[in-house]
Symmetry: C2
Subunit: 473 residues, 2 copies
């Protein structure tokens, strides 16, 4: 791992949209100690973005007219059609799709209940990719592990023939870092339990809500353990209930039925791409994007409808700005709505593969919005160190949006993983995810969770970012 310097913190810059201020621009290169004054970049674009209802209206449309967009379901195709139509309606110069093929996981009916000693229904949901239980379901006594490590350390005799239950809690934080620590129970728990003879896996939902009956789904993977067992997440309240039952020391017997399955035939969906063509260097590309697919339980408003509409609206506002200011984009802006991120980054990986030959020579920078609709608080990059001083005008305008200059360790976003690995420069507009994991991957991921003012700040930031890199970089 290379050691990358962090940006020095920028000073507190007070920026008023209403006034044309001359700003003391941040001197990114500490060797320069520049105190040059410059007008803020793209004030009209910024003002228009902050007052535009475009993104919210798009999100209302996507969640109402399409709703859930799980990979391979009818909602997947409806989502693609919606995105094509939206790019066109927004005045993008080019709209096209690129095929992406992936397996299809189906959820089906899912039920759970404690049979004894305290019969009660349980609210749970199958983990994405899980096999089903068969129509008869699975019955067994539960053995609780406080986390994945405890399950791994347990003797086979403690697990064999039982339903393994991992009850670790995800911790809340602005950057969502609790997710990575907790999610191994979801992603790897089933095979770890199967190795020791478990007949099913239950986990506490990987989420931060503590008063909800809505379980959190999300992808899981089977490793090469020959036995595959079904896996489901309890809502956090149902997890509390089960843990409270287990504390009483009697065997707790559970019945679980999941009709989940993988379809025999793969499905071919699409990345949907809208472009605003660069006037001077049309073959140089700045990518912003998000993933179009969602889980099936909610309407995918935050994950990742928000990202789709933030980046779509940002592009549309840039196009308008280019016309109004008679200052065309130098490079091409490519807004990508990626297919099937949730079940394995299929859209992002396919994009990197399809464009492999020209990726490094044409792609200037890429950023993905995939962390809800919370306010952006930090701007990170992955650029050559000697180029960082050129970001000063962008940092200045970001400061006015409450966005601090961050580090040079950006990974770009899930769908950009393959591109980043190949060396494409990256940016991250880091969002406040304090509340994101309360509703992430649940039925509660719906339009009402989006705060319009926060969404506007996101659109403004993406618009300024993409305008700067397509035109001024």
């Amino acid at each position: 791992m290379t050691t990358l310097k962090k940006f020095p913190p920028i000073g507190l810059l007070v920026f008023s949209l209403a006034m044309t201020l001359t700003l003391s621009v941040y001197a990114a290169d500490s060797t320069e100690k520049s105190t040059a004054k410059a007008a803020p970049i793209y004030p009209e674009l910024l003002a228009n973005a902050l007052k535009s209802d475009k993104a919210y209206a798009l999100l209302e449309s996507l969640t109402t007219e399409v709703g859930p967009r799980m990979a391979g379901t009818p909602g997947d195709a409806l989502g693609v059609a919606w995105a094509v139509k939206a790019f066109k309606a927004l005045g993008y110069d080019k709209t096209y799709t690129e095929a992406v093929t992936y397996p299809v996981w189906e959820r089906g009916v899912e039920t759970g209940a404690v049979l004894s000693p305290f019969p009660q229904k349980l609210q749970l949901t199958a983990l994405g990719g899980s096999i089903g239980t068969g129509k008869k379901g699975v019955q067994g006594d539960v053995v609780e592990f406080t986390d994945y490590a405890e399950l791994q350390a347990a003797p086979e005799s403690a697990v064999n023939g039982k339903i393994a239950y991992i009850s670790n809690r995800m911790t809340r934080s602005r950057d969502g870092s609790g997710y990575g620590k907790a999610v191994i129970a979801r992603s790897a728990g089933a095979s770890a339990a199967a190795k020791k003879g478990a007949i099913a896996l239950l986990i506490r939902s990987i989420g931060t809500d503590s008063t909800s009956r809505s379980p959190h789904t999300g992808i899981m993977r089977y490793d090469n353990t020959p036995t595959r067992i079904p896996a489901a997440a309890l809502s956090n309240i149902d997890a509390d209930l089960l843990s409270n039952m287990l504390k009483r020391g009697q065997p707790v017997r559970i019945q679980l039925r999941l009709d989940a399955r993988i379809r025999k035939a793969d499905y071919t969906g699409a990345n949907v791409i809208g472009e605003i063509t660069g006037a001077l260097k049309p073959d140089e590309i700045v990518v912003i994007g998000a993933h179009l697919d969602s889980w099936d339980l909610g309407t995918g408003a935050l994950d990742d409808g928000a990202g789709v509409v933030i980046t779509m609206a940002a592009g549309a506002l840039i196009k308008q700005d280019a016309i109004a200011s008679k200052k065309p984009l130098k490079r091409t802006l490519r807004v990508i709505a990626f297919a099937n991120e949730e079940q394995g980054l299929y859209g992002g990986n396919q994009y990197a593969k399809t464009h492999a030959d020209t990726l490094l020579s044409t792609h200037i920078i890429a950023a993905e919005s995939d962390f809800g609709a919370g306010r952006i608080y930090q701007f990170n990059t992955k650029l050559p160190e000697d180029q960082l001083h050129r970001l000063a005008p962008l940092h200045a305008v970001f400061a006015g949006l409450g966005i601090a200059a961050g580090n040079n360790l950006a990974r770009g976003g899930p769908d950009l993983t393959a591109m980043a690995a190949l060396g494409v420069p990256m940016a991250e507009l880091a969002q406040d995810g304090t509340k994101y994991f309360d509703i992430h991957h649940t039925a509660e991921d719906t339009l009402d969770k989006v705060v319009p003012e926060e969404l506007k700040q996101n659109v403004a930031a993406y618009a300024l970012f993409a305008r700067f890199f397509t035109t001024d970089w």
Copy 2:
């Protein structure tokens, strides 16, 4: 309706538990202008109640070991057995049951979906008492009415053959007064719609949450309209979604399946009664109580597990206080856990019938806790006006708990309706219900919604109330 005077507001009384204060007692009778000073009543009972975890522990037990207690379900019988055991364990002098018979409504599977133009699943739940749709379900176009009155005013041609949808929103308030205004859509909407030829009724949930996918159930009634149609509530988020679809002006077609039904045979459950016997006048009765049944979606923590454990724990603390202080109760305290309130006040009505002959001669006063576990903020009575001045010591100690003297219009509580109608004196310990209707009758009615400190304040208030009326009145 008789005109009853309101209590004059009492002055701000600062009361400290930690100190033995001499209080300026409120002069209830304005003709007296008394400024007599007196020691606060039952300081040890108050202190013990405010530090007791008994009620919370009982509620944890009830929600974990029994869970939902819908009338006539296995949970009903488990709840009765739990209450009998709990009264005995708490040291009540007498524990017994009185039979109550009622019909049994079963929920079964329930699903809903928009078929066109924007296919999506809908989260909904059958209203209690609704008939089912049959296995094939019901399909139809939706016609929206902003409230019950608009449905009533609509021409038959607008409703005939359609699914009528009433979308009125319940307003939030401390006293829950928005419920009474909104609930007619739920209670009477189906027959009103059926009269005009509707094939089903949908309503926006009668609840105050605006970010939840959990629909609110609750009882509905068919009037003598010959046609009965199935009725269900959408979650408030799904109601928003449906209204947003309808705004687009295209026909919105819905598929609804409810397997709900009324069982052929009635069920005999029970009121569960615990008594602490009065030493001097054992035949004079003070009643406190709550209803033991709940709806089936949550664990009935707030509705009305909280009321059950508040009154049970209050009685147990009074018994302990009587022993410790060597000051026995003069009258008998009767704590009643009523059967099947939710589907028609069966337990309360049966109690009034069973005890009709002696009700007025033996029942001194009655109060029910059935509004969650929020802090009590006001004490209302229904007593002869010339007796009100005798409440002064109780008002004084209540002031220290943040409970203001209220009016003399108390109705006592749902299960006391029949007793109140017969003239039994009533009291109301009015709870802050600001958040109550966010989770009332939903899957979210679970233990985590109860704030332990608020529950303790309730226990303290009921303990003081019942101690005062059994011993000092």
